[in-house]
Symmetry: C2
Subunit: 208 residues, 2 copies
DNA sequence: TAGTGTGAAGTCTTTCACAGCA
DNA sequence: TGCTGTGAAAGACTTCACACTA
């Protein structure tokens, strides 16, 4: 299981959790962590953790576990969060505003460098230190601002059009909060709050 | 494949998408939909759709497809969203406020009936028609208000304590926005925005 | 003909279980 | 002894492919 294989998506999602936990342990003064240590914090099995970390090329040490510092480095590299990226938020409504102020984005190297909205009464106003620009300027902002990631936080009706425009001017990826598929040819991660609640409703109704 | 089997979780997530699409098609005046129709809208295979709908006990008709009205009914039942549920939002910060105003929750039968916060300067204030109550009252609110779902939208440091309290007074499920595991014995769905961005960063870096 | 339902096959992911190392 | 790394087995999920049907 070398680091050259493509990492399965379920593993990727867990790597993100391992990274968070590893950073927190390092902060707390630990130097190493064992697979079972990570496993119990995160409600997975120890074998799963070892298998997952095997994808990184990270070697643990028998009897000791994994050294946190190199583990964190490798996790960051595997998740491609070992450098900063510029982010544009499209939509300065409530979701957009919540994201602007989300401190973890910055900590993780996701730099919100621009915010746009279609509402002309918002344009020019500063919200959380970000001056809202017009949605008409998307193309200029993306190109000149070296934006790699777009966050789509507009109403469903506008989402696809916005996504098309972002894709057309060369954005590399989208985080989508609108409850619909964006049919564009760049990677998209959907954050669908209604779906999450429905999944919860289902889980609540499930026996066990 | 009868409706008595437990539905796999990946299927559950897709059922939510099928429901959204089916409702939208019905709205648009359609009466039926084929597996390939759903499949192309949602970027899955037609065989996958048929397999998934097989879990519902829903029968399609060869040459025609699935009738939308009964399909929607069955999807709602399978997802356990065929009735309303009362929801409490804990945390009237930016994420909490974004959720209060999210119209889809109400449309889907998730009724936000109370909002609490630890910040006494917010208590008593009305935000989006919801008067913020004190977090001290959680227990009373959950029990008297017949709350089934709690939305945890508080800082990480407070999240576990809040979750414990909610679980202790008999809540049935939690939607968690804090970037940590809530170790409670009720179903939890995590919405982790940083993780989503990390997954996106990975997908952007992936070849293909 | 257009489309379902589903065994069987295939693929992907997780878990087991244990040799081996510090 | 405590813990890793990993073949092999098991399990979960998806796709194929085709008989069948309105």
């Amino acid at each position: 299981m070398s680091s050259r294989d493509s990492i399965p998506r379920p593993t990727v999602r867990r790597l993100s959790l391992y990274l968070r936990e590893a950073e927190s342990l390092l902060q707390a003064g630990h130097r190493t962590v064992s697979s079972s240590g990570l496993a119990t914090s995160l409600a997975v099995t120890d074998a799963q953790v070892r298998r997952d970390l095997g994808h990184l090329g990270q070697k643990g040490r028998a009897g000791i576990g994994y050294r946190l510092a190199p583990l964190i480095t490798r996790l960051r590299r595997a998740l491609a969060v070992d450098r900063s990226r510029n982010v544009l938020i499209v939509g300065a409504g409530r979701i957009g505003r919540a994201l602007m102020a989300y401190p973890r984005f910055d900590q993780r190297g996701f730099r919100i460098v621009a915010v746009v909205d279609a509402d002309t009464s918002l344009v020019g106003r500063a919200i959380d230190g970000h001056v809202v620009q017009s949605v008409d300027q998307i193309e200029t902002i993306v190109v000149d601002g070296d934006i790699e990631i777009g966050i789509v936080a507009v109403p469903e009706a506008d989402a696809r059009a916005v996504a098309q425009r972002l894709a057309a001017c060369g954005i590399s990826g989208l985080l989508n909060f609108a409850p619909c598929r964006l049919n564009v040819d760049v990677p998209v991660i959907d954050v669908d709050l209604s779906s999450s609640l429905e999944e919860l409703a289902w889980a609540m109704a499930e026996p066990g």
